[in-house]
């Protein structure tokens, strides 16, 4: 009996041992082969030798976009010997806080909301950037951008990718066939809308359903209009709660956006009435343009990825975008956009090296060449941007006349910017009047 027992024990121990052995084989060739010293690596010499160091990055970027990221810093990894471990998550905004609170913070995070960045700065979790990163960031990005990651006089991260939200998508083919021209002023835009409406089809299509972020496309509309009617100074006061959320100027902007979004003659082409905007997903909202059912769709540059397969996105193609025209010429050429900031939870030397590299012009060009990417980086060479819409975006961002402002809902505290503002817009589309919606949001901002 004692013999049988010990045999049983032996068998169990054997299984354990076997499993351990298999993993030992698995971990064999993990190490990256550093080829520092070769010709293409001379550009990376200034980053020093950090062979064998590892830097973790956490972001909301997934799938093919994440693959492109990995490709973009591959050469940097090979030359400096730093291993960049990027992890993308669909629940980034919620999970980042959980990870940081749990003592499992990543070295770097690509944070798309300055409001969220501020939350981590206030909690004392983020580290200000090092001197090298600061120099690089200030050389490559305009103060318009850097002010969003500057808190208490300290810079907490350089911008990385960007997008331009002030675009109206249209079909160049349809416009040519019908003899319409691209409007360059607000009045022309309304006139064109009336012309299209008179021809029997509704001109605008829109959709604000977006899973747990439902409502955000409408907040972009309001921000874009407010930036045009009231100007950047009022816009800044509004996003920082310097003026109440329900200021008459905001109400005016909302009502003006309503002349399109809540106008039964204008919307919702291809989907139904005004209320169908609330349940139409942002991904499919612009698609009727490709079938000729809709003529105009206001959405950011990244909507270029949402068109059905085989749609040619170009100035002479199936779809393209034009600049959402200014309303008041005195307010310059306002551009609403977004982007992510490379913030550090750790200040180990290799983390700062990666942060500096990501702020550099070399990185911006390396990433842009792979495609589908826009950045406000001044060193980004237009020739390296393959996609026509991205090119248009970069042109707008690099234009001297452009007055850039960050997406307001990303600047506000999350409870407002990702909460009551989104929900308020859904209610507004669903029939609630402007004053009630704005008062409700103002009441939630403490």
């Amino acid at each position: 009996m004692a013999f049988a027992r010990s045999r049983q024990t032996l068998a169990i121990a054997g299984v354990l041992g076997l499993a351990l052995g298999v993993t030992a084989c698995g971990t064999g060739n993990d190490k990256k082969s550093g080829n520092a010293g070769s010709a293409e690596c001379t550009a990376y010499e200034k980053y020093g030798d950090n062979d064998g160091k590892k830097v973790t990055i956490y972001s909301s970027i997934r799938d093919i976009e994440a693959d492109r990221l990995n490709e973009s810093w591959k050469q940097f990894e090979d030359c400096t010997g730093i291993d960049i471990d990027h992890e993308g998550s669909g629940e980034f905004e919620a999970q980042l806080g959980v990870r940081v609170d749990g003592g499992n913070a990543p070295d770097l995070a690509f944070i798309p909301q300055p409001g969220l960045l501020k939350r981590f700065v206030d909690a004392g979790k983020l580290k200000p950037v090092g001197a090298a990163t600061k120099t690089e960031a200030e050389a490559n990005y305009s103060p318009d951008w850097l002010k969003y990651s500057t808190l208490n006089g300290q810079l907490y991260g350089a911008p990385l990718g960007s997008n331009v939200k002030s675009f109206v998508w249209y079909s160049p083919k349809m416009f040519k066939d019908k003899g319409w021209t691209v409007p360059t002023t607000w009045d022309e835009l309304i006139k064109l809308s009336d012309t299209i409406a008179a021809s029997g089809t509704k001109p605008w299509c829109a959709g604000i359903e977006s899973g747990d972020a439902t409502g955000w496309p409408a907040t972009d509309w309001i921000e874009d209009v407010l930036l045009r009617t009231a100007g950047p100074e009022v816009y800044d006061q509004w996003t920082t709660h310097g003026i109440p959320f329900n200021d008459p100027k905001v109400a005016d902007a909302l009502n003006r956006a309503g002349t399109i979004l809540k106008n039964d003659k204008y919307v919702n082409a291809g989907f139904g009435g005004v209320k169908s905007i609330a349940t139409t997903s942002f991904q499919e909202a612009g698609v009727p343009i490709t079938t000729g059912k809709c003529a105009l769709h206001r959405q950011a540059s990244f909507y270029a990825n949402q068109w059905p397969q085989g749609t040619k996105v170009a100035e002479d193609g199936d779809v393209f975008a034009f600049y959402f025209p200014a309303i008041d010429p005195a307010q310059g050429k306002p551009v609403l956009g977004g982007g992510e900031f490379v913030a550090a939870f750790n200040d180990r030397p290799e983390v700062q090296v990666v942060q500096t590299y990501l702020a550099s012009g070399e990185y911006a060009n390396s990433r842009a060449k792979i495609g589908d990417w826009v950045s406000a980086n001044k060193k980004l060479d237009l020739a390296n941007v393959p996609n026509p819409v991205d090119k248009l975006s970069v042109q707008l961002l690099q234009d001297e006349k452009t007055v850039f402002r960050f997406d307001g809902s990303d600047l506000m505290p999350a409870a407002v910017g990702a909460g009551t503002f989104w929900k308020g817009m859904v209610e507004w589309i669903n029939g609630k009047d402007t004053a009630a919606v704005l008062n409700g949001i103002e009441g939630s901002w403490k």
Binding site: A2, T23, E93, D212, K275, A414, A415, G419, V426
Partner: protein, 349 residues
């Protein structure tokens, strides 16, 4: 797409670690279960042998060892409960008396907010509607169905039809029903079942999930669809367990089917009925997936669990989120106590 083993290596590695952890824990436990009793047995054997050799009286078996042994087996459960349940519950309660960043004490402010903010009051009302309607409707539906198909032909088929939705996750079910409620404008082909029915009857398509309070009821339908099968199966088993002699005696006394149901079936299956209602009530209080998937709490459909997640994890309002969690906990407690007392009574009776 080609599959590159080298590129996928980290994932395989992760898989391997998981496997090893599993083998280590399960194997380790098996080893312990095997080795510890064997060691005790061997020691006892040695003692007995030594005693019989020396001719001394046989050593008595120590009693406390058994208690120690029980503790040894309870330890993992106690530890996991302390780490996974008691600790977080205490921390959440403390957080509910603190501000958004969990830095300062704010007393009862979060609770005050909960019972004064109109949107949260709406959330509480919605939860109340859910918790009243789901157990009631799902249980009645399950009960009626169980009685009707009992001893009928093709009973097994009829039962599995109702039971099938149980196998679908809440998220999956919500996506299915979102298609049922889907809306397309009049001039287009309807893709939603409900609107297609309305249109073919000559009506206008409606955006079902947009209008409050109708949308909350439509979401409740999803939960009932899933849970009715559970109620039906448990109650059907209870009906089958009613002793045949009681039923026969009643028949001989000439009861009508109506009397049979109210005076024989109902009293006999009362314990099962209570279990079903209690289980459904707790599941309904916690409902999160359906609301989040179908409407994400928009259009006035939010419930406590959904709002709690939004407040704590998306808006960074730890205090308010915790207050909602504590309130949910407080709501569940009486139901659990009732259930435990009921079970105890049954055991004694």
């Amino acid at each position: 797409m080609e599959f590159d083993f080298a590129a996928e290596q980290p994932k395989f590695l992760m898989l391997m670690y998981g496997l090893i952890a599993f083998v280590a824990v399960v194997g380790g436990l098996l080893l312990l279960l095997d080795v510890v009793p064997a060691w005790f047995a061997r020691r006892r054997e040695a003692q007995l042998v030594a005693a019989s050799v020396s001719g001394a009286p046989l050593p008595r078996r120590g009693k406390p060892q058994e208690g120690l042994f029980a503790l040894f087996f309870l330890l993992p459960t106690l530890l996991l409960l302390a780490v996974g349940l008691v600790g977080p519950a205490i921390r959440t309660t403390l957080l509910s008396f603190m501000d958004a960043g969990s830095n300062n004490w704010v007393g009862l402010r979060n609770y005050g907010w909960m019972f004064s903010d109109p949107t949260i009051l709406r959330v509480l009302t919605n939860t109340l509607i859910w918790v009243i309607l789901v157990p009631l409707v799902a249980t009645s539906f399950g009960l009626i169905y169980a009685v009707l198909v009992d001893k009928a032909r093709l009973e097994a088929v009829a039962k599995s039809l109702i039971f099938l939705p149980m196998a679908i996750s809440f998220v999956g079910a919500s996506i299915i029903w979102k298609f049922v409620y889907a809306y397309r404008s009049e001039e287009q082909q309807q893709i939603g079942l409900l609107n297609q029915i309305v249109v073919s009857l000559g009506g206008e398509p409606k955006q079902w999930l947009l209008d409050s309070p109708l949308n909350t009821f439509l979401l409740i339908v999803i939960m009932v669809w899933i849970q009715a099968g559970f109620a039906m199966v448990v109650l059907s088993a209870a009906i089958k367990a009613i002793p045949a002699d009681i039923v026969e005696a009643a028949r001989l006394d000439g009861v009508s089917p109506w009397q049979m149901f109210w005076q024989i079936t109902m009293p006999s299956i009362r314990p099962a009925l209570i279990v079903v209602v209690v289980t459904l009530s707790i599941a309904t209080l916690k409902v999160f997936d359906i609301v989040r998937t179908a409407t994400n709490g928009n259009y006035d459909t939010s419930v406590i669990a959904n709002e709690m997640y939004n407040q704590a994890f998306r808006y960074g309002q730890n205090g308010q989120g915790s207050a909602l969690a504590v309130f949910l906990f407080v709501l569940v407690i009486p139901i659990v106590i009732y259930q435990i007392r009921n079970l105890r009574q049954q055991r004694e009776g």
